[in-house]
Symmetry: D2
Subunit: 356 residues, 4 copies
């Protein structure tokens, strides 16, 4: 381990699942000093009194978000906050030279027109608080945007579903394998994806032994999926996206479908995918013969893809498995952080999770 000054890092929204997940990772990151845990509520309390699993690992006192002295002590901030929060801090932080990774949709779009569509989809009415910063922001999916992430000091961490979907189809679009008008993503997510706030639909008795599709073609993540996929391809992809909630805690499983282009019928898609992701530290490509499941990636930053082709229908079918709170959120954010600071990408991300 090279000698390296530690980065002073803060986390806003430290009590949601995204914030806690980031804390858990950064605590064992060799180049991070966790300097400020910041929240709008519960400040003044010890975080380990609220999350007993942190006892002895992190017993810091939560700071008041609105008492902005924390801005003077950090050089990097993770905003694990809902839509509309980070944009209110970004300009201040930018002026002070603080780099930012945001977990919401605030900085996932470089063009204000695209953000506006997104904002209307989630019911936000107020205009973006710092539209001038969008252009310099980077969409934080390393596998397709590493270079820009490295150059940017403001990164919009992708939506969890978007990550699973884009990774499933990026090689197909980049390598011009499939008909852009036939993309279908059928996504299933665990309930932690809905956050920590109680909700009548996710009250235990209401979702146990139950499966529920929702926001069919209306989910906000579809916008960033289309946005990113169109940049990977030569045209404008049409995308169906059906999300469903399953009674699991962590995990996303996406089945991605597309028809192969005539020139690619019976191509060796597995080989192409293997090659595409051969240098990626967190994407593993499996052939159709492998039995995969989301538990294989639980608690890790990996995306496992199985590549299948149905010769009878000429369909490419890629099954994408991630942990929605890791590669889908905090893990991916730490990977971005490593890229921004030039650390090896897997720094702090190699923990082995227990089975079962």
């Amino acid at each position: 381990m090279p000698k390296q000054k530690k980065i002073n890092v803060g986390i806003i929204g430290c009590l949601g699942y995204g914030g806690i997940g980031t804390i858990e990772l950064l605590l064992s990151h060799p180049y991070v000093e966790l300097t400020a845990l910041i929240n709008r509520t519960e400040f003044g309390k010890k975080i380990s009194d609220l999350f007993p699993h942190l006892l002895g690992h992190c017993d810091q006192t939560i700071l008041n978000m609105d008492d902005t002295k924390w801005q003077n002590r950090i050089e990097m901030i993770f905003c694990a906050t809902p839509d509309g929060v980070a944009q209110n801090w970004a300009a201040q932080c930018y002026k002070k030279g603080i780099r930012m990774i945001d977990f919401s949709g605030d900085f996932r779009f470089k063009r204000i027109e695209n953000y506006k569509i997104y904002a209307s989809r989630i019911g936000r009415e107020s205009p973006h608080a710092c539209p001038e910063l969008l252009k310099g922001s980077a969409y934080g999916l390393p596998e397709i945007n590493r270079i820009n992430i490295k150059k940017s000091s403001l990164v919009g961490n992708p939506g969890c579903f978007a990550t699973a979907c884009i990774l499933a189809m990026a090689p197909a679009l980049k390598e011009n394998l499939v008909d852009l008008k036939t993309l279908i993503f059928d996504g299933k997510t665990g309930i932690s994806g809905a956050g920590k706030k109680p909700n009548p639909l996710y009250h235990y008795p209401e979702i146990y032994d139950n499966m529920r599709s929702y926001k069919i073609n209306r989910h906000q993540h579809v916008l960033e999926i289309k946005n990113q996929l169109s940049q990977l391809s030569s045209g404008a992809p049409a995308v169906d996206f059906t999300p469903s909630v399953m009674p699991v805690n962590r995990g996303i499983l996406v089945s991605a479908y597309a028809k192969a282009l005539p020139a690619k019928i019976n191509a060796d898609f597995y080989k192409i995918y293997r090659k595409f992701y051969q240098n990626e530290p967190f994407v593993r490509v499996f052939s159709k013969n492998d039995a995969l499941c989301t538990a294989d990636v639980r608690g890790t930053n990996f995306c496992h893809l199985s590549v299948n082709y149905n010769a009878e229908t000429n369909s490419l079918i890629v099954i994408s498995h991630i942990d929605n709170l890791m590669k889908g959120q905090a893990g991916n954010a730490v990977q971005n952080f490593n890229i921004m600071y030039g650390f090896p990408e897997d720094t702090g991300l190699n923990k082995l999770m227990p089975h079962p």
Copy 2:
């Protein structure tokens, strides 16, 4: 309730989930005398000693399958048995005039060539034991084959996934709404669909907090789906079918996708579906605005369909919800029984299930 002689009914394979489910329904069927509970193992025991929830409802002694005296006491048999069992009893029963509903794939195909493909898919090597009876058998999905079910004395009850898939797309194919080459079924099932026999994959710690796709494009149900859909349409449909297992007990949720034909772009698919199923006692059609979930149909014989159309992609997206052990198995079998005997189709099938 009209005066009606009770039918003497037997159930082979009475200890699996299909058998138990059939018992539960027939116990409150006004025109059924449950005469013989038959099994290859555990005979001589009281069924309520093995299934305490039946105490006081059904305390019969299980009969030995191989001691065929039961054949003289019944006029109707439900074979809730694995593949390859019913075909060994069918000829005997046929000669004695016993009608049969079989839960396996033994009688889901009228043509022996189709059965052979199915048999090879599930790894069966021995030839069909009574191929001469296939022609007179009926595929037991009432919504598309009611007339033949009524005329037949040998009904092959559909696979649970097949039921959910076919009901989702039958109107689209019958009414010539979609491109036959674009059919995709993404199915999620609860674990009871795998039967009662323990299995390393469905041992509680292995499947809790886990999602697992399997047999992608290789699931045996795809054969009956294609077979039936081709009979509803003017051509040969191409079908992708991706099954996944979710940690729920009961329930199937299928997302069915197809591209609308040029002439049908922006058609009122909801209205067409409503009309198609308007007289069906067990299919309910909902528009895209309704929030549905599998718990709504848990323990019932209903299929709930939500009909969605994405104008941007020209995709028809139908979400199909059933209880895999009810409309997907025992409930549908009892519906077939009612059709075969001319009883109202919902006889014995109107129980209200508790929430949650």
Copy 3:
């Protein structure tokens, strides 16, 4: 079925788990006309729009609790409401001759002093709204108070944990088998016992794969347990009660422990329990050799007891299994209703639930 005028019944708080459970049962009760579904919120809506499993079974419009015209149309009311609600309606109903079964603690104590202790335990500060009615009320556990329930027009339905605990030890106390100073109840409950309202502790990701004891020695049900057990015995029992929440939907499992009195060492406790409950329609007594589980009683009004004795420690150990929403709530309430009106006790309560 004898010719019988139907009783016009109302349910206040019809949208909680207790209210829905009562509706589900009364819909198939041959002597009940479900006349008024009443709530403080959501009135004007169809109940089946909120609970789709009721579609076709019950499509009534919810009435406004505060628009008291419903009082003129019913002769019996179930109050499936939280503490403090029924007491505000009781005097009005009483004057109009409306009989009442209340699901809260409002009428579980005949003496105002006992209610006051209970009220302080749950943090209620306002005095009881109609203390004059307490004396005439009856504690609604049929197995120990049938005669008074029959005579009363105001019944306090027991707490779910209290029912499981009292039934476990009633024979021991009534027959003077155990040392009153050694009673211990270790209770485990499913999460539906906490009601339908979302709660941070019972948000799916927080309680999945988790077990949590709470209110050790401080649970409010311990007061009615002690109250009722003292009436069954010759002295004042000392009671330890430890409740825990488990990630199940429905079900209570209570382990009840007590030391046998010297004269009862090695008594045939199983036989005594069998005799004690021999005429009870909803209590079944099993010996130590039987393998029981809460799923056996899921969705039913049964209490299954297994009676065990440890000769080495001289401990009587009774395991009590109920469905917390049935024998623990709505089922027991309907049993009380049947007693109050002289119907057979199991009227409307004999439904068979599906397995698994």
Copy 4:
């Protein structure tokens, strides 16, 4: 980290939950070289092909248990095997100077008479294969037997339930606080405690939404509980032990009850427990006001105890929370290993687990 030669370690039974858990821990143990993964089946395969979460962390080939060349390469063996296996290897290993920690009951009893009682309880008929080694073995619960573990080269790792129970009552017995004739342990366990082998009772649909008590007063762990507690106290304790299975993956929650001795009525039990465990790295004592749950210790080697006293009944009530596969199995074994080799006890055991 001091310079330290790595210990060559083997694991027999490397594919069960205990074996996998030990691998997971030892992979990040700084003083361990994982030299031999040994099993009776599946040898020749890569372990990461069977457990994909190990990919990149451990891709070793499994060795054949019966091809004993592995004995020459290791100085320490973990036997994560069922009862009766380790005793067949112990003498061989002993002669070669290989130290052993066994996960079964083979070496939990120093006296052959006690082992015989245990063996009959679990239905073993063959005599112990190396009774001469029992005397030198040590019961591997560090908190009560650290000195002997340090001196021994053959350690019997405790049963998971036994660990939770003994830690709950060790201070009470050692400090002479409670009446030895009033000990009651009510234990609830997750299903991973039953091991990896499928079982009809733990097939997902059979145990979901279900709670089940079993082996009441007959569980084999009660023998080591009594055995160890009697060594901590001045007399022979009488013990009731009721185990129940809950639909969770990992976790044990035990409620332990005992009556305080007259001299100890209203003692400050919390303070006494705090003092007793003050130097223990893996036991944390909480007062009655703390809200604890098993998820707090999931994936960790901690035991969390909450100490409660009911002045009305004079009962001490201690709730004990562990992860059955960590402090209840592999974690505790690694703690023992650290003691045997003089490493800091928490070496390799300080991983933070993710929430939720």
